[in-house]
Amino acid sequence: MRTIGAIIRKEFLQVFRDKAMIRIIFLVPVIQLIVLVNAANMDMNNISLGIVDRDMSPTSQKIINKLQASGYFILKDFETTSAIAIKKMERDKTDIIVQIPKDFEKDIYKGNNPRISVTVNAINSLKAGIASSYAVNILTDYAKELSANFQATANQNNISYFDITYSNWFNPRLDYKTLMLPGILALLITLIGILLSALNIVREKEIGTIEQLNVTPIGRFQFIAGKLLPFWILGLVLLTIGLLVSKLLYDLPIVGSLLLLYGVVSIYLFAVLGFGFLISTISETQSQAMFVTMFFLFTFILMSGLFTAISNMPVWAQKIDIINPTAYLVSIIRLVLLKGSTLSDIKPQVTAIIIFAFLTNALAIWRYHKTS
């Protein structure tokens, strides 16, 4: 125990002596929470709108007003022929074109099912999807309004008579920040966890201090425990800072049990720290370790479900995500913080993280033995 204590004390001394390290550990997360959450905002409110109005009637004017009044669209282009409007879109002037055909108003009164066409620039598929759904929603709303006004013309079959209402549970205002924050907390914990442990041990190799340590009676378990515990503690401190910033700056809802969250993150930290340690046993220099770490970090993070929903990924990618610990953590943090899930709800994810923690550490201890 005294040996582990000596290593822990030494690690903390080194961390707090290194000014750059302090900044990485405490300042970077705060900055990332502030910058990333605001920048990675997928709420759409400045979609460039093009209109082709070949009807020029009060009804078409009303539709245009409705679109503009929604606040999502900015009218960038107004044409009377579709060819020019399409050209404008090709030049990236507009994201979406709404075309109102000739005699639109007249057809409505006649009950001829006139069609409004919506063309979306799908270069950015995410934006396209959101933009078109906004537009279609507004247009459907207006169609319903019209149908209420013309109850008599009952043969208009392109207008729905039933009402669709929906609400977003657990994130009622569909606030993107609420969705991003827990995910970014998960990213920060992963980043710091893997990077700190991977670089730390490789640094000892690079400077040669590991040789001096290897001739001491420190056991393998003592060595790993002494190395991991300081970073484990730092990881939990980081989580606390992250939660505080999220609460103070963004009023992040904390519905579930914080104790459960800390419990899960504690296990998760062992998993990523063990993974970093494994990387360090196969690397000889810090730059090697850095590259390997970056490879896994990017894969873990991009496939974590934070930016793309895992259910939207192709099947093979979903299969790969079975071994992505970050995906489990992102899901757990969201469930616990936003939905208030209990341990029994997140059992599969927690089990996966426990297995991951066990495997990485076992592999790391085995590899460490082989290299010493």
């Binding site: 005294r2 040996t3 204590g5 000596a6 290593i7 004390r9 030494k10 001394l13 080194q14 002596r17 290194d18 400077i207 040669g208 201090t209 040789e211 001096q212 340590l213 290897n214 001739v215 001491t216 009676p217 420190i218 010493s372």
Partner: protein, 308 residues
């Protein structure tokens, strides 16, 4: 009694043979020197002895403990100073010492008497980061850290390389005092003058041992009559002496040339006359006893001749 026993140890890295069938016995409480040029295999032998490397063949014991099987026990009683400075440069002098005392489960106070002599010299700098110490101070700190758990065997891999002459002398003074405390010291060095300070030495070259004995007896193995010659033009002197028919070998040693001759009959006068005939002026010729470096060169030449 033997503190370190090395029997027929061999080690290769791929095709490169680092150690070839090496056997050495180091007695308890002696200072044993491994003398050899860079790349002779000294560090490989150290790595095997301090349980960092497994030998391909052979057996080695430290205090009757096998370096392969009983490595954990050996690590408790061994003090090791690697060739490269391997302490934490960002930790202070005191923190380093305290750390190494703690991981052996002890405290600085427990074994203070052992390191006291050395510690008092670096104590004024105890709050300074180890990386900011001078070369000599670093060595003293490293020695303290290797001693703080009271080892019975001390392995020092080239501790004086890159250290100034004054610090080197001080360092050897410390080793002598440690020897009085019954600590066995195995030390490697590329400096021939340091060999004379050891109780016994092994001359090692290309992974084989050329000689093991006390420094004095090793120099007696030289067996040839040796002259030290000084002249104004060192380069021409060397060239002319190589042409001399009685010459066995000649090397420059600083400002002088050491010349070994084939026959004991060759006298100072013979040499002076030869050099005078070649036009050398202010020639000083002295008969000297062979030093360890002369012997090393001689043995090295012999082994090269055998090989070719």
């Amino acid at each position: 009694m033997n503190s370190i026993q090395i029997e027929n140890i061999s080690k290769s890295y791929g095709n490169i043979v680092a150690l070839k069938d090496i056997s050495i016995n180091v007695h308890k409480g002696e200072i044993f020197g491994l003398i050899g040029a860079d790349g002779a295999g000294k560090s490989t032998l150290f790595d095997i002895l301090v349980t960092l490397l497994l030998p391909d063949k052979g057996k080695a014991t430290i205090e009757n403990l096998d370096v392969v099987k009983d490595y954990l026990k050996i690590r408790k009683l061994l003090g090791y100073m690697p060739g490269k400075f391997s302490l934490y440069q960002d930790l202070s002098v005191y923190e380093n010492l305290d750390f190494f005392a703690s991981i052996f489960g002890g405290t600085i106070e427990e074994n203070y008497d052992l390191i006291k002599d050395i510690w008092v010299q670096i104590e004024p700098f105890q709050t300074r980061p180890a990386g900011k110490l001078s070369g000599g101070m670093k060595q003293k700190l490293a020695l303290c850290c290797a001693l703080v758990h009271k080892p019975t065997v001390l392995c020092l891999d080239e501790p004086t390389t890159g250290v100034d002459p004054v610090s080197r002398k001080e360092f050897w003074g410390m080793l002598k005092r440690l020897k009085e405390k019954e600590i066995t010291i195995l030390i490697s060095t590329p400096y021939m003058d340091e060999a004379m300070l050891c109780d016994r030495v092994a001359l090692i070259q290309q992974g084989t041992i050329m000689a093991i004995d006390t420094p004095l007896r090793i120099t007696e193995k030289f067996g040839k009559k040796l002259f030290s010659i000084h002249s104004e033009n060192l380069y021409r002197l060397l060239k002319d002496l190589r042409m001399y028919e009685e010459t066995h070998s000649c090397y420059s040693f600083g400002q002088d040339v050491h010349l070994a001759v084939k026959s004991q009959a060759t006298s100072k006068n013979d040499l002076a006359q030869y050099l005078f005939s070649k036009g050398h002026e202010n020639v000083i010729v002295k008969i000297i006893n062979a030093g360890i470096e002369d012997t090393f060169m001689e043995l090295m030449n012999n082994s090269l001749k055998v090989e070719s």
